[in-house]
Symmetry: C2
Subunit: 237 residues, 2 copies
């Protein structure tokens, strides 16, 4: 019989895909800039290509081949690469490239996120445990009215998920034991890593994170502690 787990005192959240719709948000900002320049690129394809460079960029840091740089810097490096691949390097000024990079600060929350977090905040500590920096998480919270109690995640550990340090240092920073904290994510792999660190887990499917033809993370791939369809459902538990 599995051990009874303690009542959660905190819920920590993956952000990109779990709380906010990064693909629509990035595409909206890119579309605006592309139109101004008469660039005929699909903004959603561009957003997907930008995001595709995310894991390889972090892997250099996770593997120890590069020191910690905040995600804002990795996003900008990836943007520069992507523009070069499309021969668009000279199509944007430095200021415009900075504006494009701020697309990641303007991502719409999923429709249930703000209300659900607000409910949950009444009964527990809520915080991002994202690969985004404190700066990025702060601005994203202001953009989308996400009512965090504090900001945890990559910058607390100077490393990137799914490295164990990110979960463990985030939990330690709020003075709790791992089994008192629930990691909430739309990605099974994130929960796998969190469970290995002793955290409780909650899976919420986000079936259009990658657009209409999404193939991954449509279902839980393990027996997570909670499987929910809205963030608010966690407060009801």
């Amino acid at each position: 019989m599995p051990a009874i787990k303690p009542k959660p005192k905190a819920f920590i959240f993956d952000i990109f895909g779990t709380i906010v719709d990064w693909r629509s948000g990035v595409a909206t900002v890119c579309e605006h800039h592309f139109k101004q320049k008469n660039i005929e690129l699909c903004p959603h394809t561009f957003a997907d290509a930008w995001r595709a460079k995310y894991q390889p960029a972090m892997e250099k840091i996770r593997s120890g081949n590069r020191g910690y740089f905040a995600l804002d810097i990795l996003h900008r490096e990836n943007l520069d690469q992507l523009l070069a691949e499309h021969e668009l390097t000279n199509s944007f000024s430095e200021t415009e490239k900075q504006e494009l990079n701020k697309a990641w600060e303007k991502l719409p929350p999923w429709s249930d996120s703000v209300e659900g977090l607000s409910e949950l905040k009444k009964v527990a500590i809520i915080a991002p445990c994202s690969n985004g920096s404190i700066s990025l998480m702060t601005r994203l919270a202001k953009f989308g009215n996400l009512p965090w109690d504090c900001i945890l995640g990559a910058e607390i550990a100077n490393n990137y998920k799914p490295n164990a340090e990110v979960y463990l240092k985030s939990v330690a920073a709020i003075g709790l034991n791992p089994d008192e904290v629930v990691m909430v994510a739309a990605h099974n792999s994130d929960l796998d890593a969190a469970r290995d660190c002793g955290l409780q887990t909650a899976f919420i499917p986000r079936s259009t994170e990658h657009g209409k033809g999404q193939q991954i993370d449509l279902e839980p791939t393990s027996e997570w502690d909670y499987i929910i369809s809205t963030i608010g459902a966690l407060a009801a538990h």
Copy 2:
């Protein structure tokens, strides 16, 4: 003529004394515990004595003679010393000592703090830049409804104010330049250190922080950028 300073994009705050009334808060919790044990100690004198051990404890870390330990741990060490000085070490169980130490998580905000911060949050990033840990700041915010955007301060730098790193790493963590950020404090020495780092400064006198006979920080001792009587006045500027 002095250079014109940029419009502030963030306000970062000293907490103990500036936003919350630590002396009343600590005394309230101590009084409750002392009464249960029939201990005839003045809780305000006890709070003052506990606080008096604060600077020496941090100084060991600032001077490099000790690695970084969160303030929660220093508070507990100081409590243990203080109880020993009063021959009360065995009067409290370990659980009761932990409860006493949590007094620092239950400090009432000054009457203008919550409303002023809520106003300011509409126009800028607001965050603690305190010597308190992320855990302590998070719990204090929940206790007093302090609506922070994120939590900065000692734990971001693994050092203690007035060490420059605490101000500079706090500012860097929100992606701003020092002159885009205002340090708000009821302590002239805190503002001195922040100004040396290039931050803008705001002084708010809290004339009863140390009780009725307070002698220090009743007036600004320098030409700070803002001198205010309520937190809300910053939003009006």
